[in-house]
Amino acid sequence: MGNNRSKIPKKELDDYRTLTFLTEQEILKVYERFCQLVAINHQNTDISQCRLSKKQAVNINELYQNPFRERIVEVFSSERDGSITFEDFLDMMSVFSAKAPKSVKVSYAFKIYQGIYKGPRPDGESATPDAIDLYDIKEIVRRLSGEKFSDEDLTRIAEAVISEVDLRDEKKITVEIFEYFLSNVPDFASSFVIPLSDGKEDRHVTATTSVLSDPVEPRTKHRSRPKQ
């Protein structure tokens, strides 16, 4: 695997360095890690063709214990099916690196937390597309507490959270509220970091390569957020 280092041309490395918050060393490490994950055996396989399927991505060592891992994979994936390419992975590691500015982390945190609840809603309510609503908060608390709270506890907690920060009485948390209150938390930037693991405990990822045969048009997930 060591000679994969020469696989990224210098120009590309420079561009990656410009576009992400990582140094060259770190980009190479991410590259090696990704190769490890997709278990490339041939040296001639184009890395740009390899993807991690959603199921595999959710189980990698860095994300395995994270209660929000599916949502993280969905946010960073550029495909409809939630699979991760190398650049998605690089993007993820860049945002979760220590050098990413707090505002970037906060906005990604919002994207992760918003829309996390995928279950049924009563009375045919539709999901609020640009804000964290009651159901999302209930889902977050449910996952964080190890699924031990009862439903009415969850509702009580969610309502308490919203009433704390809701300045406009809208029963949901919009992105500005979220960013404002979260940027005041001093430890947030240092805890919103995922270090690259060395792969020794990658017991959950199956070793099959997932190489797609046809190049797919990159698409961003549809999010109706017309604001900046």
Partner: protein, 777 residues
Amino acid sequence: MASTTHRRHHHHHHDHRRRKDSSSSEEIDSMKLDSIPSRASAHQSVVISLPSAERERKTVDESSLLKIIKKKRRKEWAKIVAPVDGNSIKKTKESITAKFTKLFPTIPSPIQFLLNSIENRHGFTIRSYFQFIVWLFYLNMFTFLLSFSCIIMPTYIYPNSIDYSSYAMDQYYQTTGSSKDNTSDGICTLSDPRCALLDKPISDNYSDISGTCINNTFTASSCCSSLTHSYFVNTSRDAENVWTEFLVDLIDGTGVLSVNRLFIGYYQNLTKTAKNDSYVQTYNMGLAVFLTTFACLLITGIIIVRKFGNGMRRSYVQSESFENNLFQYIFARWDYRSVDGIIAHRHANRFRTEIRNIFFERSEKVNFKFDNAKDQIIFQLKRVCVWLMTIVIFGGAVTILYFTNRFTFQRRAEKESKGGELRSGRFEDMLVEYLPSIVVSVINLTSQLIFYFMKDFKLYTQTTAVRHYLIRVIIMRLLLLFTFVFIVILQITCNSHQCGRQSELISCVEIQGKATFIHCWETLIGQVIYRLVLTDTAVMLIIHLIVDPIRHLIRRCCFAERVVEEDGITMKVHAPPSTWFLFQPLEFEVGDYVLDLTYTQTLCWHGLLFCPFLPLIAAVKNIIIFAVKSLSLAVFRRRSPLELSPARARFIFTSVLLFSFVWALLPIAFFATSLRPSRGCGPFRLYSHEPDFYIYYSVRNLFTQVQNRILVKLLFKLTSAVVIVPLVLILILLSCILFIRRNSYRAASVELYKLLYSSRKTHQLAVKTAPMVSAHF
């Protein structure tokens, strides 16, 4: 035709603009997966080809902002939120100071490894406590390094140095030609200060005090030096040979250690002369001591204030109550770095406990609302009673300490007035000397237990009760220390010994019957603080190494196992019913331990002027504390379920340290400016011929070397009260202003947020009405 050319122009124009846009905003370019940049066109930036977007360009004339919004590539998104251009995303060169400040707290790897393992097992607050210990260790080592190189090392460099006044007297005798040796019948009297000390016995006849030696200002310091030295030597003769005596002396701080480098009484101006007396070099030890202490305290103060200021910056935009709200617990509590399954499981348990605590506290506040006025009044009266009880406890502690100290000092005065020969048992002496320190520790412990018990009175919410408890404990300790120092000062100023006489600050009515004879008050204070530090260490060791195991064993074998549900895990724990609070499972109380640490550090700062080795002792104590506490954590104590959040913990540590530091400055300032140095010991003995000399005059005397008399007068005026008092007032005013500003910043921040929120809303509306292209993306 015209239309097609027009269209071509239009298309060309669009193309051109697109190219310009893309080159000027290269940070929003992204990469397509199937076009590696090496095959790109001659753009210096990355390839942009967006075949899908081109169709839209032709139809709609849109701003670049809308383009960004519509394209919405993930990587562009990052740049929008953090609108910096590509050049500044490249690594910013850290300034030298930033690199240096990053270097300073980098802890070498074994300690870092230890801290990480502590964090993994016990959480962040406990890890930050141990990190605090390590930080204090480095601070102490730095202080010791400074004092070693400036104060202690010169005594090794200048061996066999004589006192400058002896040298001067030699010269005087030489020039006047009078006889050097005027001893008669083998006994040295105080009239002849140049008796060789250990060869000839010296007469302690105090009626001889009115002799010429002491009144002669130039010989006074030599007289007193020899007298003091002989007194101390007499009391330490045994220890040079027998190691048990030496050990006892080491614990006691007297005896052989009195004339040791440990205490400042040993130090004097150092003179090196060439063989033929043609060359004299003096190291001004007094100036060195004063300046080194001043520099150490200044640097320490700056470091602490900087550390405190980092936490203050955050508190400018949020009030402390914000940190305990639910929003942070839901959205910012999960640490994405954790990859260990056990930690995640523990985290879930902790999360539930914390949420439950928050809700419990909110419901507690409801309990404090009463319907009728009578209940309300009774409730407030109860609160007032609790505080009155606190004040009574403080008063009682201070009185007990005062009487204990007085007893000890009177005992010592009796001993000294009999010339040091009444040695009523070495151990009894030591016990008497240690009595005040032991009393201080005992009072601290009992009052801590009482305050802990008072915490459960249900008169305040839980966090407020904990805060009050910490405040009470720290005030008690500092108050006791203050009383101690005050009584020592009282004894010193009532000194009736010729060689150490002070101007009377307070009437010595209490003590006049048995006057104290203190040869060397600097060494006395050094000894007192040394004993306090040792007592504190001994008490901590006893509690952790003896009392804890005993309690643990009693708990295990005398109380039956009960099934206890904790944090959702049912486990079997030996625990008595909750009323037996002495035998409950022991907890690692981070707040208490931090107060202990700052108490030691305060002692170290108090004694810095009088015992140059004290920072080293404090550093060694830090190591001992680290080892003992981690052992205790691993075996006997478990983590407390009610814990501070990390930022709050850091804020508390540094603010307590800052408060203690400011408190410690007061006695030092007093000592340096209001007490005359003793004539027989210490680095300032040389100047004691002046009637009006204080320690800080050693700096002022530097100014006299300036030739210009007007400048000298001006400098003297600057350091007098005329300037200092208004300066202090201005500083107080400035702190009030800063406090008010902080509160107004918070209010302004909330207003700004509201403004921003409403303005963003309008922007959002405007963008919504812009023509949206079909959802091709």
